[in-house]
């Protein structure tokens, strides 16, 4: 794991908060970023309340991002572009951006079971276009429920599909994912495959509504240890 804390931009939202909680629980230092430093600090305090002694602090987004080897971007699609533009001076070459954005149609008042068509092909590819040169984007975590992340008592037994163009970057994200017991990282291919993996959020939201359940995804027929065993 990196020696610097994992920065999570948008950890005041459900998925980002759940991820912060799980990583903190695994002993990984986390910096929670928000546009509002005060809200970030409050979220960090909530993590520490659930995981006493956790190395978690809050900061305004640019401060959270500065110096982090891995930055997680977990904001609504409607905010993705503006957030990345606001971070252009804070992000630096060599950083790894884990984008978990999903272009749900809710961004324009539509249904959460539908997605928007993104000109670049996917939210992750839009992110790659908006980050400074030298920042590598990896896409993942579209089928893991925020509520399951936030519930430390929930035992996962599901997969995380990881898409990205850089093998080493994907391996680093896989190692991050493996800190959460029961999540198996699977190499889903190049970053362009986010066109498919992002849509799985809309699919699972529909399935969840129909079944009053919280679904996750598992691929059968693969090595038990996943792609990075």
């Amino acid at each position: 794991m990196p020696s610097s804390p994992i920065a999570i931009v948008g950890a005041t939202g459900d998925l980002g908060f759940g991820l912060a909680l799980r990583l903190a629980h695994a002993g990984t230092p986390v910096v929670i970023g928000s546009r509002d430093a005060q809200r970030a600090t409050e979220a960090a305090e909530r993590v520490v309340a659930a995981v006493p002694g956790a190395d978690v602090r809050g900061a305004a987004n640019p401060d959270a991002v500065a110096g982090a080897e891995i930055v997680v971007l977990s904001v609504p699609f409607a905010s993705q572009a503006s957030t990345l533009r606001s971070l252009r001076d804070a992000l630096t070459p060599g950083q790894l951006l884990l984008d978990v954005t999903v272009p749900l149609a809710t961004a324009v008042g539509g249904r959460p079971t539908r997605v928007l068509s993104v000109w670049q092909g996917s939210a992750a590819q839009q992110a790659q276009e908006l980050v400074p040169a030298g920042v590598t984007v990896v896409s993942a975590l579209h089928t893991v429920a925020a509520s399951h992340l936030a519930d430390l008592g929930h035992a996962f037994e599901e997969d995380v599909l990881i898409a990205g163009d850089d093998r080493d970057a994907k391996a680093r994200i896989a190692a991050l994912i493996q800190q959460i017991p029961g999540l198996r990282p699977i190499d889903a291919g190049k970053l362009e495959m986010a066109r498919i993996t992002e849509q799985l959020t809309a699919l699972t939201i529909g399935v969840n509504i129909r079944h009053k359940a919280t679904a996750g995804l598992r691929l059968t027929g693969l090595p038990d240890a996943g792609s990075w065993g």
Copy 2:
């Protein structure tokens, strides 16, 4: 199950043949359709060789389709539209068409890990536009490997995502799927969700190539019996 045989248009192909074999093995009468009646008959003979006593025969596509309550369309995307146009006079109101077509980019010489954008949104929605009024289209079976269907010794433990606008039609396809042990039918929503489910073929093909494996899909957190328990 319907009293008439299941017609499988394109059962000389891998997926259609595997499905014919599995349904025949379950005791369901099948008519294998092909443009060439002789090839259809040969495929039927191969099924009977594997499942002695099976009620399977071959016929030219229009003859295979005539009178079938359920017609499975299992042809390459490049042939989907022309096949459906050739069947316009054979298909009749009240019939149910199970479309398993995937708009893989191979249809235009591209990669099997990429999909084409279909004007109607998905191959299944294109099918709905091309069938006569009164024929209901349901979409499914995009993540079940043809090689696993063709291997009667393979024990499935995976899901089949079913998309369609008609609840009763989806339930009838679910019952068909349930004839194959270990396949759990899941209601994936309206036919438009085929925009997502069809793409899962490209995703799993990529995963298979990368892992030298044969992946299937399973959703966690749902009722053991699936959507039609």
